[in-house]
């Protein structure tokens, strides 16, 4: 299986050469990977107090802000199409170092992952280590701010949460708020798994949710996938035109649809041996399953290529500033050449 090394050097050389040429070319002609921003001032002043005693604030022009008002600045990106040399020299926009570095990092990390195609290498290992660590931290942050704070703390201690993180929520307990002690207790029980001896307590919350899953999913699947699909399958086998005449092709299609559905279902019978008539029907069923898989494959390829196109557009467009702005529809006339070139 291992015959990679023969062409390893050649492939690396080709990849590096293409990349280097593009990078040098890009840097000599445009502002490769630069992000320019324009500052946006925000200022707020206190306008009064509402019936609950909370201060009310209104947005004001930053130039009018005085002591006691709250002010901050954000930055918005200047689109490439608007970024002219005159604007860059006017001083109203500035080069954002953090975003420029970020863009370069993003491009380099993209290439690191891409390098896995050539073979496992330190660059990929680095990117892999980083993406695992970063994303694990990221999902924990999301879980805390999106679920833990509003849905657990916000229910159990609404006053506290209202006063610091979510000023928009009601500061008092809702009806049945104490029910949320249950998930809190379940979390504590789950963490018993960290104990060397009390690990079995953690089975309780797991068992609870496995039971819930079994009951909850079963109904959903029966209702939407079983009953509704049987209902959708009930269609007349014979079709007529609008004027009452017999319609041949719709009838053939209706027959095919029904036969194919039943045949494919026969394939899934477990307690009948696939011999004789049943065996033949099951075989036809597999054929239709294979057509289904083929269609699914074709559709999926389309999606995957769109994803790659998006990443390459990021590299060539946002980073290297290579992509021309006009769309060329004239290639439709040269389709034969494109396909011929492909097959070469």
């Amino acid at each position: 299986m291992k015959k990679e090394n023969q062409s390893n050097g050649l492939i690396w050389a080709v990849v590096f050469a293409i990349g280097a040429i593009m990078l040098i070319w890009s840097m000599s002609t445009s502002r490769t990977g630069q992000v320019w921003v324009t500052p946006v001032e925000h200022a707020f002043t206190e306008t009064g107090v509402d019936e609950d005693g909370n201060a009310q604030w209104a947005s004001i022009d930053a130039a009018d802000a005085t002591v006691g008002d709250i002010e901050w600045t954000t930055y918005s990106v200047v689109p490439d199409s608007q970024l002219t040399p005159e604007l860059m020299e006017s001083g109203t926009v500035s080069l954002s170092w953090s975003r420029t570095i970020g863009l370069w990092l993003a491009a380099i990390f993209t290439l690191f992952i891409l390098s896995f195609l050539v073979g496992d290498n330190p660059a990929y290992k680095f990117a892999e280590a980083m993406v695992v660590g970063t994303s694990a931290g990221y999902v924990m942050v999301i879980g805390l701010w999106d679920v833990f704070v509003p849905n657990l703390l916000g229910k159990l201690m609404p006053g506290l949460v209202q006063s610091f993180a979510l000023p928009g929520i009601e500061g008092s307990h809702q009806e049945f708020w104490w029910l949320y002690f249950i998930p809190a207790i379940l979390i504590v029980m789950l963490l018993f798994q960290l104990m060397p001896s009390g690990g079995w307590i953690s089975r309780w919350p797991i068992a609870f949710f496995i039971g819930i899953t079994a009951g909850y999913r079963m109904i959903g699947y029966v209702e939407a996938d079983l009953v509704a699909q049987i209902k959708a399958g009930i269609e007349p086998l014979v079709a007529f035109n609008g004027d009452g005449g017999f319609a041949l092709w719709p009838t053939v299609n209706a027959f095919l649809l029904t036969i194919a559905t039943l045949a494919a279902m026969v394939y899934f019978f477990f307690s009948i041996e696939h011999k004789g008539l049943v065996g033949k029907t099951a075989r036809v069923g597999i054929w239709f399953l294979m057509i289904t898989f083929g269609a699914s494959f074709g559709y999926t390829v389309m999606g995957r290529i769109a994803l790659l196109a998006a990443r390459l557009e990021f590299l060539f467009g946002k980073w290297l500033h290579f992509i021309p702005s006009h769309i060329d529809f004239s290639f439709a006339a040269h389709l034969d050449w494109i396909i011929l070139l492909q097959l070469m």
């Binding site: 015959k3 990679e4 023969q6 062409s7 492939i11 080709v14 990849v15 195609l117 050539v118 999902v139 999301i142 879980g143 999106d146 679920v147 979510l166 000023p167 928009g168 929520i169 009601e170 959903g220 209702e223 939407a224 996938d225 509704a228 699909q229 959708a232 289904t292 269609a295 699914s296 559709y299 999926t300 390829v301 389309m302 999606g303 995957r304 290529i305 769109a306 994803l307 790659l308 196109a309 998006a310 990443r311 390459l312 557009e313 060539f316 290579f322 992509i323 021309p324 702005s325 006009h326 769309i327 060329d328 529809f329 290639f331 439709a332 389709l335 494109i338 396909i339 492909q342 097959l343």
Partner: protein, 283 residues
């Protein structure tokens, strides 16, 4: 030649795929689109409801699928904005919220007359997937007491009288997986009969076909259908047709065509090798 192809290093295939996608992008090749039946069904579902209807747009995808689904999501946004529908945005994926923001940016830039809170609004991301869907079919406020800016729903004109999503005239779901179209069909469209259309990734599209037309009013599968949908919009709304930003999906079809023909070429070559190999008896 046969020996070379038989022992072909798979990295040459990788390289040819890279070039097949990269070259059309760099040259911005595009091809004309013919509107298919499915794209027409989806277009009609949005077009046929009266102007100003309530439309729920749930963007259940993340940056990983942005290349495939964002052009479609943007096309839905433009179509709804041009029709003056009331747009309620939500996201069931943790990283989906920024995708909705891109649509809101589009509205602000291209439809400055539309106002947040009156013509469009956004719910924040909520964890829970299908549980969120089930909940909001009966009780919207139970799940979303506030909008994404932290304002109570009772203080927003367009949500003041909305009890739950059964008040929606149409659900548009752009989805890359789970939770996504299947869950919307299972928990909103099937039990409550809310008209639903889906824009989904190519991989999901074939699974959605059995739901048409009763449980789903139409499906847009991947970038090709998005391009057709763009073409359908162009026919009715010339101002959108004139907007180069509204042609994203069509532009993406250039690399598609070249890459697809490469795929077919690879399948053919693979089978030639297999056929020759079997003749020579070394398979």
């Amino acid at each position: 030649m046969y020996q070379f192809l038989k022992n072909l290093d798979r990295r040459w295939i990788f390289l040819s795929m890279l070039l097949a996608v990269a070259i059309p992008i760099l040259m911005r090749i595009a091809f004309p689109e013919v509107v298919s039946k499915q794209a027409k069904m989806v277009f009609d579902a949005v077009e046929s409801i009266p102007d100003g209807s309530n439309v729920l747009l749930s963007f259940d995808f993340d940056p990983a699928s942005e290349g495939e689904l964002l052009p479609m999501a943007q096309a839905f946004t433009r179509h709804c904005s041009a029709k003056g529908h009331k747009q309620y945005y939500m996201a069931l994926w943790p990283l989906g919220s920024p995708m909705v923001d891109k649509s809101l940016d589009t509205i602000r830039a291209e439809y400055p007359d539309l106002e947040y809170g009156i013509d469009y609004m956004k719910f924040d991301y909520k964890a829970g997937g299908e549980a969120v869907i089930r909940m909001i079919t009966t009780d919207l406020r139970g799940m979303f007491p506030l909008d994404s800016r932290g304002v109570s729903l009772d203080d927003i004109p367009m949500t003041k009288n909305i009890k739950n999503i059964q008040d929606m005239d149409l659900i548009i779901n752009v989805s890359a997986g789970d939770p996504g179209t299947k869950q919307w069909v299972q928990f909103a469209s099937t039990p409550f009969g809310i008209t639903t259309v889906s824009g989904c990734t190519g991989v999901q599209a074939p699974q959605m076909y059995p739901y048409i037309p009763k449980q789903l009013a139409g499906v847009l599968g991947a970038i090709k259908a998005a391009a057709e949908y763009e073409a359908a919009i162009d026919e009715v709304y010339p101002e959108i047709a004139a907007n180069p930003k509204a042609q994203e999906a069509k532009r993406r079809m250039g690399p598609q065509l070249v890459a697809h023909s490469l795929m077919v070429g690879l399948i053919i070559i693979g089978n030639c090798i297999y056929y020759v190999g079997r003749k020579r008896g070394d398979v």
